[in-house]
Symmetry: C2
């Protein structure tokens, strides 16, 4: 098809939109691909829609290739199925809820596990019907607290979500692998730099779980990777627990005055001055920091939690919440702290001097979870539960026993990979896809069973596989743009060739017109800048660079010498090609 | 593509769903095309989605052919633009409203006039940018009081809505005509019986307006047509007003006792007995019936209205409301009637004996609108505002003057067409498309102006053009089904050929498999019933008839004689075709 700039519904902008911070967001607006309709809610203009449809087509082809069948659920959904799985409540403020004229409750679907489960229950009843993979490409809604980056984190967005249904775990493993392989093909074709990382499965429940992340500075997800090939979303990184130590030779715990030590750094300095170690100086890692938080459950109830971790590490809120989903974590206020008289602000420790202060069986009754590094036999400097004092040589397993462990401490570059594959490096990414094994959570909640070979009712096991389709458009843009504009991979560009006619010479426009038609006839998508001579060549070139079609062809003065210019948008390389050979040249280029 | 029944996500049902009354609704559910998710909200199963996509593709092709450009707006929309055009309120209970986590108001878009207007205002500023036609195919939401007929009247549904933007009326006329022509091509290709009728433009405002109705008994719209080619939605039918009559020779109005005349019929009988006419008997058409209603404005305020019409006709609520949109009409209760002491129930008339009872300047102060047939000089029998009495020879223009006219009376078969093209017949239809000239209503409300050739700001004039895409699927089904199942036109069928292998003979399945592959290679979409011999031929035939692919090919016992059966689903005609010639035969059939 020939798309003509003279009539294309497009206005490019010289200036960045005021509300955009992320480069792809700025350029997608400036180049006329999208427009903001409300926070996190976008209109797709013709160029944007072309890219979106091309992404969708790639996803559809690869889904069909693994035998997944497409259907479409409504976006407006009744409350009842989400009630059955408790997600009506668990989603908290994160979903849009509404009532119809009869006062019945509805939501705008954030994901469709329930609906998929129910439709299979409606249609199928035997193991012979399985395995089954079904999917949709459809509008989703989440009432994000902070919509961000244009399409990167929106409130109305398009997802491809598929679900697999199997009669047993081996089947689920196969379905999972088929989807994972399809995702690799999809992201390869979409043409951006991505990593597959281990992930937590969060509120969805389930076991095996991996994310496909587009590697990008602007990404909201932090992931780690090791030289030996370990890769994980930072929420999913597990801390290797050291071996338990013997504490036979450990001195008894002893409290010391530690005046003016409001921070770990001042405490460490004081220790090195007043209580120097023989072997090495004290470090923050020798101290046990106890952080108190309040857990807010979806039903609104609140519960305190104490977290013990080495003093040289902060609590990573996202890692912590990933362990506790759907619970949200809030700081404990001073007011709330006062309700626990056993806790002395600034000097909180689990136990000392015959008193136990943290733990379900302690004076405070507050559940106490520690970092996996806080193993039996390790010795810590921590609060003595007395103002102005810390206790030294407090030994885990001798002086206190936590209620359990939790992955709440920040992960740092250089930390060892849990599989021993070397030190971790940290990077940022955009979550583009997520494959995970849901297992039987939804099937159990909604009673999806089939008859097995022996005529017995068995609960179906499910996998869930998502791709952020609108987000992919932004991620591809983000991963490929340069300082002058967008720069699409050929597979998803809004056109194959951006043909520019410059000047006012009628012969130039006639030649360009001929080239456009011949390309069109050869099945090449042409964006043809046929605007009259009143639009300067400079404006046309700038628009072409901003819009980012991979090949730019300029028909201009060179035509007098029988040549047109073919320019590669990415490399900037130009070459003159004979005007009567340029169509063949371009067809070959586009199909290569 | 080959779609295999052995793995297709499908279950056909023997029994009609309990909640379905309309034949197409029953069959679309029974044949596994759709499933109900909530009242008026449907899930599209694979077969249904194929038909939907084919309808969408036809719409897209014809939109592109008139140069309309596709974009997509969100479904979740902010309140502000709808506030500016008063539609936030005017839509009443008919739209879904919701709040986000920051308590901001949103709606689920029922139509997108505001958004289209604003995006053009955002991008364009000069007459040189126009004309422009842009459209989307997108989910719409209406909180219908009575969702009905499955996809026929849903609460979540897909519409194609386009808008044209022109600098002047002549341009709008051209854009309108281009869309109208495209609609004719679209509905011709969709393959159902339709009529184009004059329509009112309702809450949308505007002038020229036509609807495309699928002719169907189950339709909710009534339309009329005349032998001379007049066609209109019943709401849009205008009543030819007779010439005013001279009343110089009319006797003075005189009240008469009319005991026991609670109905028009009893009144007419009494008149014929007690006051016989010389020329002919009295009829209901000689009486003037005065109907009192309450108008409910979108802001909730209520206002009385009196409607005077010939006694042989009822008020048609839909016609009345079409004149008054967005006002809703409710009956006046006895309680409310009592607030007007001048009105004597059962004997209400506009005026008599020096008193004026109906009209803005009357004792009641109630606005009084009459049927267009109630012209100056006509004489009526009507209530005398005294219990037990009617007045005769009450003359319009002499004894009373209404505040105006209104098209509220029912239209009846045999009524004259307003353009003199003969008597009207009535029929029912499903509204499939609506083209209308919005004019400047939205452009004015949202300040969409462009510079004209003289550098002056002029307000843009708009056209609005909708097609109910999901509704079209139901309408096509409804218009083509028969007593044994669905019966799709070739252009929109979920497959080109339904290939059935029967029995248990491996040679049969091998031959069917070969045919399927050869058809697929030739670009023919095959639905292949490859289910094993355990599924009886009877079940397979019944499923094929229910699903309604236009050509059914049976590979079975005949194969031993080298033939397969090719059956036309609609006519039921069968022919034996040589197995080795059947692919060519089918390719020719499908492409014919």
């Amino acid at each position: 098809m020939i798309t003509r700039m003279s009539s294309l519904f497009l206005r490019t902008l010289r200036d960045d939109p005021a509300d955009a911070e992320v480069p792809s967001h700025k350029l997608l607006v400036r180049a006329g691909y999208i427009r903001r309709a409300a926070p996190g809610i976008y209109t797709w203009l013709p160029l944007g829609l072309k890219v979106l449809r091309r992404v969708e087509a790639i996803v559809r082809e690869e889904m069909a290739a693994i035998g997944a069948q497409e259907l479409t659920f409504p976006a407006l959904l009744p409350r009842e199925p989400y009630e059955a799985t408790h997600r009506w409540t668990e989603h908290g403020d994160g979903i849009f809820r509404l009532k119809d004229r009869k006062d019945a409750d509805y939501l705008l679907g954030p994901t469709h596990e329930e609906m998929f489960t129910l439709v299979v229950k409606d249609l199928y009843s035997s193991y012979k019907d399985l395995p089954l993979s079904i999917y949709q490409i459809q509008n989703k809604y989440r009432d994000e607290a902070r919509p961000r980056g244009g399409l990167l984190r929106g409130r109305e967005f398009i997802m491809k979500d598929s679900y697999s249904f199997d009669v047993d775990d081996a089947g689920l493993e196969e379905s999972y692998q088929a989807h994972r392989d399809a995702y690799v093909r999809i992201f390869d074709r979409l043409g951006f730099d991505y990593v597959v990382v281990k992930a937590t499965s969060g509120a969805m429940g389930g076991s095996r779980s991996e994310e496909f992340l587009a590697v990008a500075e602007v990404g909201e997800d932090t992931f780690v990777r090791s030289p030996g090939g370990y890769a994980a979303n930072v929420e999913a990184v597990t801390t290797p627990a050291p071996e338990a130590l013997s504490y036979d030779d450990a001195p008894a715990a002893h409290a010391e005055d530690t005046p003016d030590t409001p921070t770990i750094a001042t405490l460490v300095a004081h220790l090195n001055e007043a209580h120097p170690r023989d072997d090495r100086p004290w470090t923050g890692g020798d101290t046990l920091k106890n952080v108190l938080v309040m857990l807010r459950h979806p039903d609104g109830t609140r519960e305190p939690l104490a977290i013990g971790l080495p003093g040289d590490r902060e609590v990573d809120q996202k890692r912590l919440e990933a362990q506790l989903e759907p619970v949200e974590v809030e700081p404990m206020t001073d007011e709330e702290l006062k309700e626990f008289p056993a806790l002395v602000k600034g000097y909180i420790g689990p136990a000392y001097d015959g008193r136990t202060v943290l733990g379900e069986e302690s004076e405070s009754g507050i559940r106490y979870l520690v970092d996996p590094r806080v193993v039996t036999g390790t010795r810590w400097v921590t609060g003595a539960n007395t103002h102005g004092q810390h206790v030294l040589d407090l030994v885990v397993g001798r002086d206190f026993t936590p209620d359990g462990t939790i992955e709440a401490a920040e992960v740092r570059a250089g930390d060892p990979a849990p599989d021993g594959s070397g030190p971790l490096e940290l990077a940022r990414g955009i979550e583009m896809g997520h494959v995970f094994q849901l297992g039987r959570k939804y099937a159990e909640a909604l009673d999806l069973k089939v008859l097995d070979e022996n005529g017995k009712q068995v609960t179906v096991t499910m996998g869930s596989y998502g791709i952020g389709v609108t987000r992919a458009v932004a991620a591809i843009a983000e991963g490929t743009l340069d300082e002058i504009g967008l720069c699409w991979p050929r597979n998803v560009a809004p056109a194959d060739v951006h043909l520019v006619a410059t000047g006012k010479d009628e012969a130039v426009f006639a030649a360009a017109e001929r080239i456009a038609h011949e390309l069109d006839a050869a099945g090449v998508e042409v964006l043809y800048d046929d605007r009259s001579g009143k639009t300067s060549p400079g404006v046309k070139f700038k628009d072409a660079e901003l819009i980012g079609v991979p090949t730019i062809v300029v028909v201009g003065k060179g035509l007098a010498d029988g040549v047109v210019e073919v320019k590669d948008r990415r490399s900037g390389e130009r070459e003159d090609v004979a005007a009567d050979a340029v169509v063949d040249h371009l067809v070959a280029l586009v199909r290569s």
